[in-house]
């Protein structure tokens, strides 16, 4: 694939996505961010230092994601009777209650989109780590950015906490494994979404140009 093999793709400038002002890119120190002086929008940031941690974080997120869905979130007990639920249980109950649209919404935002984002990131990062560029690099990066707003694990986490507080008034509530897993996933995904997948372009182009993956630090 030659359409992205040009490491000279012009990225010397940066346009503000909110006000269309043009700036010359300057090298930032790790952790620094550049803001638009005209409207205050963040223009770009330097994630180099944490870049190496992205693949382990993505793989850890995938494992935690499985725990989130394999175990009950919470068990509730009233007078000796107990019920428990998983995310899938909630999706199924809504579908049974003639709430197919809401059921789909919950499924897409808490299961499908997080899984798609993590899966696609792993699909990109594992070959990049091995020094290869996976097929369909461009479309996959675009797909990740397209799906990102619809993954809502952190909002779901707040929903779990609110439900627990409400339930604890009427019953004995026993936290399940998935509750802690969701807490961990919220933190891991916060790290994942602090990376713009578009930044992977520079990494991929460095590999194509023959630099070893470790030498991604630009001068």
């Amino acid at each position: 694939m030659s359409n992205y093999s040009d490491p000279r793709a012009d990225t010397s400038l940066k346009l503000c996505e909110h006000c269309d002002a043009v700036f010359r890119r300057i090298r930032l120190d790790p952790g620094e961010r550049a803001y638009c002086p005209r409207c205050g929008t963040e223009l770009y940031r330097n994630n180099d230092r944490r870049y190496g941690a992205l693949l382990p974080v993505v793989l850890a997120s995938l494992i935690v994601f499985i725990c989130c869905n394999a175990f009950p979130i919470v068990t509730m007990e009233i007078q000796g009777v107990s019920t428990r639920t998983t995310v899938w249980g909630a999706v199924r109950v809504l579908a049974l209650e003639d709430m197919l649209s809401v059921s789909t919404l919950v499924f897409v935002t808490t299961m499908l989109m997080p899984l798609v984002e993590l899966g696609l990131l792993a699909y990109l990062l594992v070959p990049l780590w091995l020094g290869r560029i996976p097929a369909g690099f461009g479309p996959v990066v675009r797909l990740i950015r397209l799906g990102r707003p619809w993954g809502m694990i952190e909002v779901f986490m707040l929903g779990i906490v609110a439900s627990l507080v409400k339930l604890s008034a009427m019953a004995t509530v026993i936290p399940g494994v998935a509750l802690w897993a969701f807490g961990a996933l919220t933190v891991l995904l916060a790290v994942v979404v602090s990376f713009d997948p578009a930044d992977l372009w520079e990494h991929a182009e460095a590999i194509e140009a023959g630099y070893p993956p470790a030498a991604q630090e630009r001068p």
Partner: protein, 209 residues
């Protein structure tokens, strides 16, 4: 007024997907780095935003008037709308949950609808009023939009947990569908809006001066 160089003055445009810089005449073609479509502005931005926004506003009424869930216990059953649910939670002493649901389900949706309406109107009339503040409001709408989904998740979790037939049940009601649709539609509206349209009349104004 502003000494900042704009993309038009520099004769460049940026690929929205991979940040590659292209000459402005490339608008309408595909980025040769990543294959994304290159547009100077989000295509049909105002018309799409209007459409999603009007649909969201139309559904906002049923979302608030229709009940979102029915809670049944040994003591009888109670059907709540979003607002009556918040009041019920508050009287019940669940101040934390009441505050969370109030912010996510009432404050944020109203804020989003009001800001988006103000933005499409001011852009439509090519206003040059307070562009920095309007851009900042747009950024806030983008950032907070997703949190409105909390109540939908709470209904889903309660409905699947509280199924102790004789003792207690929670049943979702049609208001949850309307409310979920409002959240999705306002997210689509804010995604379709192009904040650069706020600045276009200003830049044109500067050019004439």
């Amino acid at each position: 007024m502003n000494p900042v160089r704009t993309a038009e003055q520099a004769g460049v445009m940026e690929c929205p997907q991979c940040s590659a810089i292209h000459p402005r005449r490339r608008g309408g073609s595909a980025c040769d780095r990543c294959g994304a479509a290159l547009h100077l502005r989000k295509p049909d931005s105002l018309r799409r935003t209007w459409a999603f926004l009007l649909a969201a506003m139309a559904l906002y009424l049923p979302a608030n008037i229709l009940p979102i869930m029915t809670t049944g216990t040994l003591l009888g059953s109670q059907t709540n709308t979003i607002l009556s649910g918040v009041v019920y939670l508050w009287q019940d002493g669940s101040y934390f949950v009441a505050a969370v649901v109030f912010c996510a389900s009432i404050v944020i949706p109203i804020f989003k609808l009001a800001v988006l309406l103000m933005l499409v109107i001011t852009v439509q009339v090519r206003s040059i009023w307070r562009p920095v503040e309007r851009t900042r409001l747009y950024g806030m709408v983008e950032a907070v939009g997703r949190w409105s989904m909390v109540d939908v998740f709470v209904v889903a979790l309660l409905a699947s947990l509280v199924r102790l037939d004789a003792l207690a049940t929670v049943r979702p009601e049609p208001g949850a569908i309307a409310f979920g649709a409002v959240v999705v539609l306002t997210m689509l509206a804010s995604m379709s809006f192009d904040p650069r349209l706020i600045w276009d009349p200003l830049d044109a104004h500067d050019k004439q001066a």
